[in-house]
Each structure stands twice: as structure tokens, then as C-alpha cells.
Symmetry: D2
Subunit: 146 residues, 4 copies
């Protein structure tokens, strides 16, 4: 139903729109979707056995670029489903893709992507995707959903 | 040098990176650049004689899409220059473009764009760019900077 | 076990510390606890049959004062339990009280309160606590927990 | 004039209310005042010769408790003056006090305090106020303003 056959391979989690997240237009502020994307990819990694608190001691995944398309507004107290999956993958960077929908109606609220590099926490050096991460991301690359 | 001849036609303002804006990686959180972009475009409109508190009573400018490229990190207490100018303009939507640089070194931190629609506050209807806004945006479209 | 016999009468919900919520000290930024308090009281009202999206159309509950005590830090990806219950109640204002604990260890992270007034959305007038709200808050006042 | 004779001894800076800072009630979200307090105390330290980027390498100043009184709302694009000064000082902790006013009318928007401990960055140990900080804070303690 519009989500593609690969939908099952990503990770899903929910966020609820807080007063803090709304703005004077009465809708969720546009910058918060990048936070919701973060919630989605952290959940993705957790479901692959990589809790963020563990990853964060070893590897930083700085965002190199990000984009969002805003399909319809979300409002105070709306429950949203955030789906995250892996898009393109290169030697030293990889892409998360996202879809955010209203939990009740499944109407599309926002979609987008983030491109990540890999930086060793100890040395600060940019590195290729380490194997322990790469093999978790691989399981998912067949998902052309969305 | 890299900012193009149109640089003078945009608006510039500064933001300082707050503790609130940093994250556990020790750098400015990636989502905050969309807030800095907001600061830039609000300043742009103010310099054109359109304070946001005035605009907000008449017209909402919901964001339809946004993108950011992250060139280098910004850190706690860094002073950043946000430059905003008008990119493409259509009948019912228009684009802001942005560049964020370290104030001291002028090194590029982030760049990106937002695409805006126009929505009447009274009726909630999507409308074409009203003339009072269009003529302010027009003054600037010659700026191919960045 | 340190939570008082009234613990059961409040509402509990969980929040997870996001990258967005951490700061360059590596811990959850102090201002975010007021957001977590919001999550707690919205959940409290939901459990009493008052979804915030419904309340927000009728009544605003502006915060008159707030306080937080920070007992120990929360870190990236920590799962926290937010408990909210009603404290003092007067004719036209009432108090929420909060406790935030680590979900796993139950160690106390933060506690505090917010004092709320009542403002009719239609008229903007400050009013007494309306009966539909008052009767929901009453059920809980016996809870001297924390 | 309600600000006390010591008003001059604190530090003043301004913040402007961003869309990001407003909420669906159309006013500045209550948690953001703790961020504005941060802006005030960072400016205080800067004016004493202690840029936060320098302090942050040596000493963390975790917040032990915080309180806010909300006197009147601030709205989109309001320019606010944040004044910060030192309140009580003990061997190992000290208090900032704050007042936030509308820049134009000087009407009081919010007031409050934060209590800070001192933690060495290198060792993570809680320590007494180091002399280099203490002597800067001392200059100000005569200020009984607010």
C-alpha cells in the first residue's frame, strides 16, 4: 500500500508530537523531523543489536547531508510512526532513508534521508565503515521501499 | 572568493552555538541548522521591512522541503554568520538559500535551502505569493551567490 | 521503596535520551527535563481520559512557575521513567509534581514541579479550574508520593 | 524601579524568540527560559574574561537545581533582555540569578535561578570553586538586585 515490498526490512518506532515540538503555526516545527529521523535510525541500530550508547563509545556517525520533504503537517499529540532503512552504501559513508506517517491513518507526513560518515572516537580520524557496522547495514540494503 | 558576486544582496546575521545546541559528540547537533536557517530568513524579511511577528498574522510560510550540507562542525560558543538569500521563485512557492560560516575564519560550516509555500492565516488556504511579499523577494532574485 | 505509598496513583511513562537532548558535557541538557515533565503530565491527562489535543482546543494550562532538582545525570540512550502526579490544588491553579528515574536501576535522576493556571482558549481569559478538569485532578490528590 | 540598585553589576544580553521557541499556544515554550538563562550566564562569564569554550575544557558547571517564575508570555520575534548575576556563593557551589524582560517595554517576562556545582573535566571529580573562577564571581556578589 504505497510503502513498497521492502517495508518489512527497516525498523519502525513511534514518536508523539510534544508541545515543545509545535510552533506558533500550530504544527510540528520543521526542524524537529531531523530529530525524529535520529530516533528512527537509533532504533534501527538497536534492532540490529547496536545500542547507540555502545556505538557512541566507538564510532561517531556525523551527518554529511540531510534532506526532508514535508508532505502534510503533524499536530500536537499526534502519534507518528518513523520508519528507517538503509539506502546507498559506499566504502566510507552510508545513507539512511526515512518515512514518517500518522500512526492512525498511515498518511505520509515527511520523508527524507541522511548521509553519514564514520569517525573513530579515540583518534578523531575519518575511517571506512567498520566491519561490525557494515555487516549489520548489509542485511538491509535490499530494501528499496518507500 | 566562493561566495559569488551576489553575496551583498542577501541578509546576514549571527548566531552563537549554545550548550543547548551541542550534543554528546561535542558539536552542534545537525538538526539545529534548520533553526539557524530560520534565524537567517527571519532576518532577511526584517531587513526587507517585514518583521516576522507582522508576517505571521497574515501569512504562514510552511516549509515544503529542506536540505542541508554539513561542511565542517561548529562547536560550543562558536560565533556563526548566517547568510540567507532568495533562490528560485515560482507563482506559489519560493526558495531561500543559506550559507553558515565561522565568523572569525569565514570557513564554511553548512549550506542548504528551504522551499516555502504560502498559506493565508485567516482561511488556511494555500495561495500564490501575495504582492506585498513578492515585491520584497524580487529585489533579491538576481543573487546567484553561493 | 523510597517512592512513597502514593506512587501508584500518578501516571508513568518513559522517555529515551536522544542525541538531540545531550550536550557537550555528554549528559542530558538541564532544560530538557522541563520537556520530560511535559511528557509526564500529558500522559497523566491522557490516562484520565483527557488527550492533550482535546484539552488544547478548550483550555490552555500556562505554567506559572517551575522547579527542577538534578540528582544525577542521564546519558545518551538512557531509558527514563517519568512519573507525574497532582500536588497542591487551588481554585484557579494546580500543581503537578514529577520524578524521573533510570528505568533499569530506579535511581532518581530529577524531581520537580510545575504550577499551572487555566486560560480559556476562546476568550483568552484566566478562569478557575473547570469542573471537567477538576474532577479528574481530584481523584489523585491523595497521593503524597515522592 | 523594581530592579534594585545592583542591576548594573550583572551582565545583559539579548535573545529573540524564534519560531522554534514558540509552541501551539502561540507563546514561548516554558522550557526555553532555561536556555535563555544559559545564554545569560555564558555572557556573564564572557564579560568576566571567561569564554565558555575555554571554561568547558577545564571545568563543567553542572546544574544542581533550577527554578523559573513566568510573569508574562513572550511571543514570536520578541526581543528579550536577559540579565544574569551571581547570588549566593558557597565553597563548592554558586548561584546565578536571572531576569528576562521585554527589550522595548522592560516588562518582566521571567525570573529565576540556577545552582551550579564544579566538576573537573579531566578527572570527573566534584571540586571546590577554583580560584580563577571564584575571583571573577566575587566581583559581583554585592549585587542584591531583582
Amino acid at each position: 500500500m504505497g510503502r513498497g515490498e521492502g517495508a518489512a526490512s527497516g525498523a519502525e518506532t513511534t514518536v508523539r508530537v510534544r508541545y515543545k515540538d509545535t510552533d506558533a503555526m500550530g504544527i510540528c516545527y520543521y526542524g524537529n523531523y531531523l530529530t525524529y529521523f535520529e530516533v528512527g535510525r537509533v532504533e534501527y541500530l538497536r534492532q540490529k543489536g547496536l545500542p547507540m550508547s555502545w556505538v557512541d563509545q566507538r564510532l561517531h556517525l556525523p551527518v554529511v547531508e540531510a534532506s526532508v520533504k514535508y508532505h502534510r503537517p503533524a499536530r500536537l499529540d499526534d502519534l507518528l510512526v518513523v520508519r528507517a532503512w538503509i539506502g546507498a552504501k559506499r566504502r566510507a559513508s552510508f545513507e539512511f532513508r526515512y518515512e514518517i506517517r500518522h500512526a492512525e491513518t498511515q498518511a505520509l507526513v515527511a520523508s527524507g534521508h541522511t548521509l553519514h560518515a564514520c569517525q573513530e572516537v579515540m583518534t578523531g580520524k575519518m575511517v571506512g565503515i567498520p566491519e561490525w557496522l557494515d555487516e549489520r547495514l548489509t542485511e538491509d540494503t535490499a530494501a528499496p521501499a518507500g
